[in-house]
Symmetry: C4
Subunit: 235 residues, 4 copies
């Protein structure tokens, strides 16, 4: 895939964030990787969606160095770039990463709570709870904050499969989601916001309610994922 | 009614789900029955609303077998088809069925609680609480999940009239609604979401509040339903 | 004012309900009185906003008798007509009445609670709490329900000035608002919904919070109302 | 800057309030100062956004005297003008002020609570809690209410930097925000509403949750503000 195509896909995925109501102003950022070339394209830092063009996406390698892709003046990449590259380096299967401060998912992050699996809407997309990272130590914050945000996320998946729960809430911060490409990571960001909203309503309505039974959770997850899936059209 | 007409009505009812904000992406499905022909038309599985045409609706009989209605490649019907056909087989008067994961109704489903009749908005459409099914046993889940979802709903109406409460929330899952045709079942899905939202707000504001007095409930329900109704224009 | 003009104003006020998001489907109704002629125009019963024309508004006298205003087939007036005429007969200064089931105001009605004055947004429009009627007795419900709804509202204002609190929530039901004409009664319905929403959020955030201090309440109310008002432009 | 330019900027900032959904009807007002000339432009009192033109903005000096800027009939300035001028006189660095009754920020004001810093969305814009003023004494209310609203706000910042927390909620009332110009003060009003909404959700979900760790708060605030900031593009 050419840099031009990669930037176009990342640009469109970033615009989708705005269209779906997940971000205001310059909030949020989406990236996509080209593993063959060892580079990602990512939204530039602090640029309004209205003024952005596909050409403004920044190409960086996995050590966060800017790779000049165009003759035009290169912009500074998202301040969260190191979190994105950390995830690409550690989660081998993912191709796109999205970060938002979407309202309900952020409320769970601020409450420092994982989002329990309370129903089939959740089970259709995530196997088990949406994990919440541990809080960062002061030392981590001061060392290399954005890199360490990635470290906290990866630690959180030490015994979890990032493909089975393609999303996380970072304690005190906000969500990150991922998928096979930029578009799919945005899709997961939209799903997460809806799951988070339903879970908020369920918990405030019935604080002591049980999580979804394991058998139903398995049923819903595996009718959409894996070799026995039967949801959707055959390819 | 021809297959073409049946598909057209079902297609439009499905689009209405999206216009009314009850679904995102491929969530939700609506069907309608032609009892003379013994078939239903239903939304195809996992197809985006934007890409769908009336011709993509799938015709299946009441044993869930696809009846080829067009020369075009037939799509796989909604994965919830067996729940729809189960309801048509057991609720003799209904002509349309809608399934959504609308946010507030799903919160009640996830809380595994019936929606109490707290006011006249509710009483105008549903006589008594909106029932919540019992949870499925593990055995049911493994046997034939979508069929058993229908079984749970029908059981829930053993002593209730499905015409007087044309809606249900399935515990841990989401709502199903029905009516004389596809359009009316969507109408009930919209009403349910509004009733569910009002009941959520009422319960979180005043957790100990009483349900609506029986006399008012009767008054509102019967001024709109049955032979003494006086709401609306004479036909 | 001719019947045609009266119907036009009432028609437009009814459409405003929909534009402001206070109603779905055929919910809600607005009327306006011509006190010289002793008649009101009111929305017909159960007609969709999309299909309604100004000519469909129904002219009835204060004893709820239809006065034929046009050659066209007269429609049945709103099923809540008797509540409207009851209010016009007892509240001498009002010229328009609106009834909705707007979500937050209805939640307070369903909780059977008056809406306390918690801030200046409220005090700008309503002096003191928005009252909540007592529940109706079974006998009232069976006698003449819509008339008795008016009776409950009027009773609620035995020691209150309907001009200083141009709105009420009817216990277990929903709000009624009024004003000098139909448009102003709709304006008050919009304000009430916003006040009700703010009060819901305030109470669920801080259940034990105090109401607004009397001095601030007086200040805000009287800077907008009465002979010493200084808000807005001089007429 | 000419009066015409100043009015144009203030007019556009006021319209932005409506576009962003922070106000209904005539709610809200924005002003901007020209410190060289010692005047501000501010929205006229009680005029609907639909009927307003740039020319209707009112020019007043810092003692609240109207300075006739145009040949057209001068309108009465916002009834909150004295609060605006009080803030300009005491906060030397600010160039624009916005007042709204946006829903969630107003709920915190009505609860008479500061908005705690619960996450990085907040820390990106405000250093520490969004303060809540003390309630006004009855004497203050009666003396000169709008001026005293300014007094309460300035007192609240006796030991706080108004540049580090460019916003406040006035107890029992609603928010005021400020910035280097009118547009930036509106930007802060939008941010405040989102922060207030997230904090409401977080507190109702987990009432006992901790505030954000100091190290993370410092990190987020200072990566966007001050001489070591690295968010956004270099100027």
């Amino acid at each position: 895939m050419s840099y031009t195509e990669l930037k176009r896909e990342v640009f469109e995925a970033n615009l989708e964030l705005q269209k779906r109501g997940l971000v205001i102003y310059t909030f949020g950022n989406v990236s996509q990787i080209d593993r063959a070339k060892g580079v990602i394209a990512i939204k530039p830092s602090g640029v309004a969606y209205e003024n952005m063009s596909a050409d403004d996406m920044v190409i960086v390698d996995l050590e966060n160095q800017i790779v000049e892709g165009t003759v035009r003046q290169v912009m500074r990449p998202s301040s969260d770039t190191k979190t994105h590259t950390h995830l690409y380096r550690h989660f081998a299967d993912i191709g796109g990463v999205t970060h938002t401060h979407s309202t309900y998912a952020t409320a769970w992050a601020q409450a420092k709570l994982p989002i329990p699996c309370l129903g089939t809407t959740h089970a259709d997309f995530v196997y088990g709870a949406v994990p919440c990272t541990a809080e960062m130590s002061n030392e981590q914050v001061q060392r290399d904050y954005e890199e360490e945000t990635g470290v906290q996320i990866v630690r959180c998946f030490a015994e979890l499969d990032p493909n089975a729960a393609p999303m996380v809430v970072v304690a005190g911060h906000a969500p990150f989601t991922w998928g096979k490409d930029a578009a799919k990571s945005v899709y997961h960001a939209v799903i997460l916001e809806e799951i988070a909203r339903m879970a908020y309503l369920t918990r405030t309505l019935a604080p002591q309610g049980d999580v979804l039974a394991r058998a139903v959770m398995d049923k819903h997850y595996f009718r959409k994922h894996g070799k026995n899936a039967y949801y959707g059209q055959t390819k």
